[in-house]
Symmetry: C2
Subunit: 336 residues, 2 copies
């Protein structure tokens, strides 16, 4: 199915120098989709080269006069910059000109703007952010990642529903398994909110696996892991820190002397195969779930390849009507 993506070209650490080539690459590979590049026209147009002729109506450029800063306060971005590229991509989804919005900008601002412009789906109290992590078996979707702290059990149930629908839309799995992040497999463990959330998930009709622990994320025990935004953010950031440390230690171990450097040269194919397997760029594109429209957040430091992965993910979510799936599943849950 043909979908149109509205791309905030100004967000992220590298701005249009990454987002524009990634968008053109995406158009080249997906002959059905279209994009609307949003941002400062003077900056974007010179980067297009012959693309305007190549892609015709599949490539549009929409000028937006303002830019949301990476560290800008949410209030200032939301109320002070009504013509920001971030705001315009949300507006384009709202008006139906695009099926998905994508930005590598400030996460808090993107969430606030998306929520303000698009509104939440019926029955969803709070939108959540879901990311994908590599696992021993493939990959797993984890939510929430920081949009929601101090959650109630009902919120965790909603995250479970949204996560399951995300997997069904992106992976075409009928009944994705959902795990509840806890600190022990026994039902007696964990805090009060999590205990009650487990009871709600058990009767939700979802394919609820039960409690999982932190190591189950990387074991790939379930398709979806549900937790509150505080815990999810800590788990993600801790993982980033550990991965960074291991990478640094490996590099240092291989650069100690000429013998280890020679070994590194010989080991390059193996090390490259290893790197490809855990390459976080492939998993770029966190979904803002629970909104009346598809919104995807790229990592700010994404390169062209990573940003294109996020575009592909956004297109797939839009193609499979993710918001409608969530709305339908929520309606079923309310009736039940």
């Amino acid at each position: 199915m043909a979908v149109t993506l509205a791309i905030d070209c100004m967000g992220g650490d590298h701005g249009p120098s990454v987002t524009v080539p990634a968008a053109l690459d995406f158009l080249r590979r997906d002959a059905e989709c279209s994009v609307i590049l949003v941002g400062l026209e003077d900056v974007i147009r010179p980067l297009l080269g012959r693309a305007a002729e190549d892609f015709g109506a599949r490539l549009q450029l929409r000028h937006a006069s303002e830019i949301v800063g990476m560290d800008e306060a949410v209030g200032s971005a939301l109320r002070g910059k009504k013509d920001s590229s971030m705001r315009v991509v949300a507006d384009l989804v709202k008006s139906g000109e695009a099926e998905a919005a994508l930005s590598a900008g400030n996460t808090g601002a993107l969430m606030a703007i998306s929520r303000f412009v698009l509104k939440t789906l019926p029955g969803i109290d709070r939108p959540a952010i879901a990311t994908i992590l590599p696992t021993m078996k493939g990959h797993t979707y984890v939510l929430d990642l920081g949009a929601n702290v101090d959650c109630e059990p009902e919120h965790l149930l909603q995250f479970g529903i949204m996560g399951a629908m995300l997997v069904s839309a992106l992976e075409h799995k009928d009944r994705p398994s959902v795990g509840l992040l806890n600190i022990g497999e026994e039902a007696i463990k964990g805090n009060e909110v999590v205990k009650r959330a487990g009871e709600l998930l058990k009767v939700s009709g979802l394919n609820f696996f039960g409690n999982v622990e932190g190591d189950d994320i990387y074991k790939g025990t379930t398709d979806v892991v549900v937790c509150d935004g505080f815990v999810g953010n800590v788990a993600l950031k801790t993982s980033e820190g550990l991965a960074q440390m291991i990478t640094t230690f490996l590099r240092e171990a291989f650069s100690r002397n000429w013998l280890t450097k020679l070994a590194a040269l010989m080991a390059r194919p193996a090390l490259n195969a290893f790197k490809a397997r855990v390459d976080h760029r492939r998993y770029n594109g966190a979904s803002l779930l629970g909104l009346r429209g598809v919104v995807v957040k790229s990592h700010g430091s994404a390169d062209t390849f990573a940003f294109r992965c996020a575009l592909e993910r956004a297109a797939e979510a839009a193609r499979n009507n993710l918001p409608a799936r969530i709305a339908a599943r929520m309606a079923a849950a309310v009736v039940a």
Copy 2:
């Protein structure tokens, strides 16, 4: 200073086959310390060999007729087994015959028994569990790791004090830095309990760094990282899962074909240097803090080397009067 360790020889996945050799090795390396080996006499004595003559009064054996199972319910261990090896090591600290108790058994049971026998220090509401993790700069102490879910801000303050005193006792640092695990550096972020805990820590007289994020654990930003037991447990287990996945992927990358296998052979010195640097066995020995006595929990799967590391850690904590340090710091905090 000479200290005596009471060692539960029956706990852990390997029981006396690991704990006894580790204890003898410890005695060989630390000429001042003594140990009391606790457990089934018939099982332990044959493992001693000539050690009884070698170490004289520094090595005692105390029979305990019962064993707490690794998965045994806390209530059954606490009330049903008054002559368990785990119970007897706590009793020996209580009576003053030993300065520290050590077990590789069931964590929940060890915490419950230690708390029942030894009681908490004045001003401490709940004991906590602290572990050590390797970092880019050395290592960091993280607490709590699962003893306490649903914490109040005051508990997090107490964890900060206990963690700082642990570092002062084990590392001989005067004013260890303390970070509060949160999901953003801005004070506005985080949940209500953490926000309020930050305010308490700020005026506590501790060397409070402020908020840290998950990746700061492995960056080694602060000497101590404070969080509630739910979050700490998730961070630790997630790290274990990720480390396991990376190890597996590395092994698989190097065993793909004869060329990568040859590379692995050449890379062995570098890979071994890397492994030594992140060897979790060196960090074995989690401290149960806030009790009127030193209690250290070894990982259940510890080998002889890892268990000896935990013994050395317990001896150092006892030698430096960790409980007295915590009590003194708590008294100062109450006055302030």
